[in-house]
Amino acid sequence: MRIGVYVCHCGGNISEVVDINKVVEAAKLEGDVVLVKDNSHLCSNDGQTLMLNDIKEYKLDKVVVSACSPQFQGLTFMRVMETAGLNPYVLEMANIREQCSWAHYNFPKEATDKAIDLTKIAISKVRLDTPLDSKKMPIGKRVLVVGAGIAGIQASLDLGDAGFKVYLVEKEPSIGGHMAQLSKTFPTEDCSACILSPKMSDVPANKNIELMTYSQVESITGYLGNYEVTVNKRPTYVDPVKCTACGDCVPVCPIDVPDEYNEGLSLRKAIYITSDIAVPHSYVLDTDHCLGLFPLACSKCRDACEADAINYDLYPEKVKFTVDTIIIATGFDIFDAKKKPMFGFGKFENVYNALEMERIIGCEAEGKKLAEVGKKIALIQCVGSRDEQINREYCSRVCCMYATKLAQLMKRSDPKKDISIFYTDMRTYGKGFEEYYKRAQKSGVKYIRGRVAEIEENPDTKKLKLKVEDTLSRSFIESEFDTVVLSVGLEPNKGTETIRDILRISKSSDGFLQEAHPKFRPVDTLIEGVFLAGTVQGPKDIPDAVAQASAAAARAIRLMNQGEYEAEPITAWVDEDICAGCGICVGICPYDAITSEEQSDGTRLAVVNEILCKGCGSCSGACPTGASQQKWFDITQLRAMLEAAL
């Protein structure tokens, strides 16, 4: 064994505290060490070249770098090893900067002693290091996208266009998500349905996308490159091919149900189509409300259907398929304003939430009246956001702008409308947002800085009196309004929970799904091959949701386009000669990477799936026999390090 040791000065960062010479001399005394050098900047091009040449010239087969933290420059030196033709895992770093010269600059002598010890620890470990190979695994080009809001749609289209097979699963009868409900979109005021519906119809038109609406993911097992998915498809009882969308079934149905698409402000029947822009554009029979199919209690709709598209004898169907990567785009729900009872939502008839107002305005544009909105209108911001009383600390990011939009749209439809927006802070960080805000101010929308404390309904006139301090003039406003709109915040979609449970993705403290790194891996999760797109990761507007969706698609493509990928090389392995198949490790593995397999002689053996294993070592820590060992952290290595440390 020929170990080379490199001690770095880090341009004085280390050498000003640690006596480099002493470290060098101490390292020379260690067995198997054939070369010890120091250098002022090992990570620089010069330093790296020095190492490269030495490895060749002195035929080093293992290397110790005493420098900074392995978390800082570890990758750099591993790359040097690879360039030199050595395995990157026969390199060890002794962290004599963060852990010596910086943490103990007041104790130079002790820092030097410690640097020597850390170097010795690294040497003792590297001696026992064996090359680790990253397994190369084949990976195909199949993706599961869960949730077909704008984010899910965008990701699917990007992937489909790039030639990847997409399974798009949406729990509702139509795709489109919340965007399909919006009137117009800030700050450009494009009609939401007009820009969304072409994208929606692109989905079934794309030959690479297999769309499953009215469906839920039931289980996912496996791993990157091999996720086995089971989807439960609810029957719609209407054959989408035969259904001509004539709507003849609707008037005959005796059942009225609040229409979700209009946020309950209008009614639909038990057989219905979600909206004019629904995709797939086909009717759905809603068994939760239909008088009953089993036994059949009514068959009016079937009798009315001339296309003979309605078939009551259908059952939920399970569809199984395998994908390589997964994108989750299950979106958001709006905050339930009933949880802030002081605003009287659900109690006072003229209090609406913003999504209801989107529908009112949207329908008005089509000539349908969902509700009578008076002249004097107040919008209340931050309802269900930035509020510790209900455990929601975060800002929902879109409500300042959508309130501005709603105000403008109302003002435009009737300039005599008197509109006030009660806000805490106006957050207009996006492109064109401040300009949009300014336009609203110009059009006469009043922005009043003060958080509304409560609303009182006049029992006779049903007008609404707000109590609020205008914190800029420091006076109270107590004024009656015809209509109040609550700018409700965004919260994690309830549908996300099911998928979260299946995949065991973690949540951040706000309840949205947690990205792998807030800056550098904003659409990745900690599960390999699983990505996030859109509001499932946190509140955002449409452009951000779309950008993230494309990013998620690109990240997924990045993995799949290689045709193969490298699995984590630090994994657990089981010594078959010792393992008794006691099964303790099996349940411990957080990634279900271990199975207990019956051998031909009836005994059992733990088998680690190296693809699933993320190398935590929990199993090795718990194994009662020492049969389970973690590569790179073998018990003999840990012992050797302890020995050197003490």
Binding site: P341, M342, E456, E457, P459
Partner: protein, 296 residues
């Protein structure tokens, strides 16, 4: 009969005697004996809100020690301390919480009171309304002998039963406990948005004007929605909303007086208890004409 330690507080022995008598009688019907704790002292009314002010907590702690002793002697069946007055409830309960959360401060207090046995903690404070809820409102319903159906009353919670959150006996924003009770005894319950608005509390001493304004708002808001009387559980609210009606009348000559009941007076009526437990003489606005009008 279940015996529970009971803390009356100063006012229930004087202007609030009608509250105490009707409450004790009501409790009896429900199988509860309120055992007045001996040597009780002021609860320290209004909890200290500064971090370092421990001295004022002592008053409450001493009452807890009495509860502790009664339990050690086996005189009562409950480690909880029952109150009727909302204000005492609020003070005692906050102190009980503080002692639970800050054991170091409890140590300090124990060290300070060298003539007292140490308070070991663990005494919790309940309001009679909570005990009633615990028994179940159906139980109440089963005890009703007399119909009060024609009476339109609006419950008035005020502050101290509902705020802050840590001492609240119900949801601070949408309380229902009094409504549930009143429904159970069969009165016609009128909801008012001002039912948990502050009556001005002790400001009545220094700033009666404010109290008059608030009282007027509270009463008129209830009246507008059809109420003929208010119901409360606090002798201070009763004073501010009832006795101060004199001043309201001076300010608003059109104002008509509205009786204010303690909730226990209504339960006593519904349970058909003897008239004297209600002692309506002590109600500032005599409710008897109203009751008579409603044939109760």
């Amino acid at each position: 009969m279940k015996k529970i330690p009971y803390y009356p507080g100063c006012t229930l022995k004087t202007t609030g005697k009608n509250f105490e008598d009707s409450a004790i009688a009501t409790a009896k019907v429900l199988g509860l004996k309120l055992l007045e704790i001996d040597r009780w002292n002021c609860c320290g009314t209004v909890t200290s809100l500064t971090q370092d002010d421990l001295i004022h907590h002592i008053a409450s702690v001493r009452n807890f020690i009495r509860v502790q002793e009664m339990n050690e002697r086996g005189e009562v069946d409950d480690y909880r301390l029952l109150t009727l007055c909302s204000m005492c409830y609020n003070t005692l309960k906050s102190v009980s919480n503080v002692m639970q959360e800050r054991p170091d401060d409890l140590d300090k207090i124990n060290n300070f009171m060298d003539r007292e046995e140490d308070y070991k903690g663990g005494v919790t404070v309940v309001h009679l309304l909570e005990l009633i809820r615990e028994m179940g409102f159906d139980e109440i319903k089963s005890k009703v002998k007399k119909s009060l159906g024609k009476l339109k009353v609006s419950p008035y919670y005020g502050c101290t039963l509902l705020r802050p959150k840590e001492v609240a006996l119900d949801d601070p924003e949408v309380p229902t406990i009094m409504e549930d009770l009143l429904n159970a005894i069969g009165v016609d319950v009128i909801d008012s948005p001002k039912k948990s608005m502050c009556c001005g509390s002790y400001q009545t001493v220094r700033n009666p004007k404010t109290v008059v304004r608030l009282g007027y708002e509270i009463i008129e808001s209830a009246r507008k929605r059809g109420a003929e009387a208010l119901v409360t559980s606090c002798p201070l609210c009763a004073f501010n909303l009832d006795d101060r009606q004199k001043e309201i009348k001076l300010e608003h000559p059109d104002f008509e007086r509205m009786p204010v009941f303690y909730f226990t007076q209504l339960t006593a009526l519904a349970f058909g208890l003897k008239k004297d437990v209600n002692n309506f003489d002590l109600n500032f606005t005599d409710p008897r004409p109203l009751l008579k009008k409603k044939k109760i």
